[in-house]
Symmetry: C2
Subunit: 487 residues, 2 copies
């Protein structure tokens, strides 16, 4: 670990007379730069510390108009003249103060939660490196990390030798869009140059509970949502957003093979279960897919954004998306230009999403991700067992959840004797939003709710943060009962 770098020492500096222009590259800017960054780090490490402290609230809720009017010392408006670095530090502190602690062990609101320390360090480094994935030239290490990590993911999917292709994209919706684009290109390559009129009217198949991004991709890419046309693409969801259900991939693959359709598995949420020897059977048949979406930023606890699109056929991403921009992808560079990934993407510049994930994998090992997955599923099983027969709870779907999604209604005492019918439905529909609003006002916990089909608003609990313990689950249940008792 020896190098000639200096160890920093902190100094008391008066930032009220310093401005951005006094930092590097300004002359003598080095010391204020280091001290300013250390002040920021102090704010951040205090935030990290408190995020894991259960006596800290999950959020300090304010309405939009309150924040817009300006809180004491915190004003969102931009102005012509610079603010002092002291004010900038206050702005940083207040931005965190009025935000939501998504890493708090009692934040259950989204599929992505938690604050992994190694992942966080990875993100700090990524932003310091401030580069772009499009060429090996300016991101040599990150490009190779991406390549190795995607190969590892393909091996875990079960594609022979981990062959194939892939990219990290800005999120699951874009990854799913890639899958539809590549399928279209595979069957109707001339669409790339001639447009959709070069293909018959095509349709995509996906389940009602699948993520809306599949429909969105259909709309964006010019498919529409009509019935009666030529089937092209089938999406099987591995872990639906609300129920956490896994479509039977093998059964769907049989049909796709019979009719020569592209099979995509949307494992944005459920893909992480591939890391667990105990749970990966829920994705049996995934090796038969043509493409897979898998978001490490969800179930694997990697910081946002980190989503992969993986494609079995090598070269098809390039074929589908290449435009051969001469100013970026010069064929006469001195290195092997097959490492330039930019022309495979629909983006030009592409953010470095790989490093934090690679670093977490190094730090935890494959076994560490397995433990993470198994633990989160165990916690949600604890929740399920705790409430499935508890007075005041009704489960939304039958049987044990396949993923960490536990969907339930809390029935306040006033509704418990009421006959089933429209009046009860209407009242029950209002329960979850009311409890949620109170949770947010109190700042004690956050959990999502929604209606689905003909089912009125219910809570959807999910666990993807390895900081969550059984005591947090107990707390959540107590809190729901405390807030909902008199509704």
């Amino acid at each position: 670990m020896c190098d000639n770098s200096e160890r920093f020492t902190r100094a008391e500096i008066d930032f009220s007379n310093l401005f951005a222009r006094d930092l590097l590259p300004a002359k003598n800017g080095e010391e204020p730069t280091i001290q300013f960054l250390l002040e920021v780090v102090e704010i951040l490490t205090n935030y990290v510390r408190k995020t894991f402290d259960r006596s800290t609230k999950v959020l300090d809720f304010h309405h939009p108009h309150q924040l817009l009017e300006g809180m004491e010392g915190f004003n969102l408006e931009l102005s012509d003249q610079p603010e002092s670095l002291e004010q900038i530090l206050v702005d940083c502190r207040d931005t965190l103060k009025y935000g939501v602690r998504t890493g708090h062990p009692r934040f259950f609101n989204q599929l992505s939660s938690g604050l992994d320390i190694i992942g966080l360090a990875g993100e700090w480094l990524t932003s310091t490196a401030n580069t772009n994935m499009f060429t090996y030239e300016i991101a040599p290490v990150f490009v190779l990390m991406e390549q190795l990590t995607l190969k590892k993911m393909r091996e875990i999917i079960g594609w022979p030798n981990g062959d194939g292709d892939g990219l990290f994209s800005p999120g699951g919706a874009i990854s799913n869009m890639y899958s539809v684009m590549v399928a279209r290109y595979k069957y109707f390559p001339e669409v790339k140059t001639k447009g959709m009129s070069a293909a018959p009217r095509l349709v995509l198949f996906t389940s009602e509970h699948s993520h809306y991004s599949i429909k969105k991709a259909g709309a964006v890419l010019g498919f529409g949502k009509e019935n009666g046309y030529v089937p092209l693409f089938v999406n099987a969801t591995a872990g639906t957003t609300v129920y956490g259900a896994f479509d039977p991939i093998n059964d769907i693959a049989d049909i796709c093979e019979k009719y020569n359709l592209w099979l995509h598995v949307d494992g944005a949420w459920g893909g992480g279960l591939l890391m667990s020897r105990k749970h990966r059977h829920k994705l049996s048949g995934i090796e038969r897919a043509n493409s897979v979406t898998w978001n490490p930023h969800k179930m694997m606890g990697v910081p946002l954004q980190c989503s992969a699109i993986l494609v079995r056929e090598k070269g098809i991403l390039q074929g589908c998306n290449s435009m051969c921009a001469g100013y970026l992808f010069q064929p006469d560079k001195q290195y092997d230009v097959t490492y330039d990934t930019g022309d495979k993407a629909i983006q030009c510049g592409r953010h470095v999403d790989i490093f934090k994930f690679w670093l977490m994998w190094k730090a935890k090992g494959t076994v560490g991700f397995e433990q993470h997955i198994d633990r989160c599923l165990e916690i949600s099983e604890y929740l399920y067992n705790k409430i499935k027969n508890r007075v005041g709870y009704e489960m939304v779907f039958e049987g044990q959840p396949q993923h960490t999604n536990v969907c339930f209604w809390y029935i306040p005492p006033s509704l418990r004797g009421m006959p089933h019918g429209d009046e009860r439905r209407e009242k029950l529909h209002r329960v979850a939003p009311k409890i949620k609003a109170m949770m947010m006002e109190c700042g004690t916990t956050m959990v999502g709710y929604q209606p689905q089909g003909d089912k009125v608003n219910f809570f959807r609990m999910v666990v993807s943060n390895h900081a969550v313990t059984k005591s947090d689950i107990d707390f959540l249940i107590d809190e729901i009962e405390r807030l909902g008792h008199d509704l």
Copy 2:
């Protein structure tokens, strides 16, 4: 600045026996967590310090196979078992060591360069907050910052009262794709549900020198590239990628108005000039556009990624893209849900790209961005004046550049007497790649090159880093001449 947060103190810790599992949320994990993060910060602040030190190289070049084989102590392969935190710190240091210093004052390779300290602090905070832009619920402060900043940008464009809409997207290519999608929705809204068959065959107009993302959007969205169909959309480029040329927006707007076409201005690169009273005339007429792409991560020196798509008509992004996912965009929340932005996007989760930009704006003020722009253009004017009549240089296009792009051939002495013709062309074509390869091997500087149309490989210099001084330009010229003299 008083709060009850603790000031950190550094301790000597032996990380060789510590692992990721010993950090928070582990019991007693707080101290190792803070100390680990401080070690990372030491690595990062040393990197920052050296980035601005001209005695440090821009890069330490290695070929892909060299990095893949593994450098001493640095191995990219992932394994089943965890590595110690000591090794993780080495991995962090080596990742930076073998990367490219895009903030170095002699890195001129891409439109995005520089390392703004305030922007960097903003990114560190963003990754610590680790949240998602789709709802006010989990990103209240960031959602409002985005709204206010986009409004400010629309005011600067010149749309009345700054009205309209917009989003930060993962990059200029996606922003440009939004513009085409919204245009299609405006004229043929039924494409959203019925697909491209609901519209006549449509074409997009853009110039030969425009960015390839416009063509890519055409391919993705199912337009194709054929002639002879119904015109829908015209892209005017404000700052082309290679020449930095500005299309005459007013002339194009006249035609668009006459024929009722959507006018998009791709100001990904040139949009920043709107901040300068001296240079904004180059975008005259931009207020007549229907949509504008503007990437603060290019000319304004904001860290990657930070790209805005701005749309004049309010509500059309929502109309075009909404799918009303019940689990995210519940209408019965306790706050004003018009602040939930997710349904306007083609993404579901969306990374927080606003904070670093907002913080930089606070810290510099509007005037600070103006100074940044004016300074970069001044530096590139210095370069232009220095080489336009210098022996051994030929300019690629006539007259003074409109942006910071200075495009030129370096003619080695051996080619100076040679008659123009194929042999000279072929030899000259190889000069820039050879010099570039030597630059990278030496690690002293980086500048891009490319052919364009019938023009053989030439250098494209761009300046967007405010750390660049005239002495760096002198250095670049000396270095080109040193490396190219004997070719």
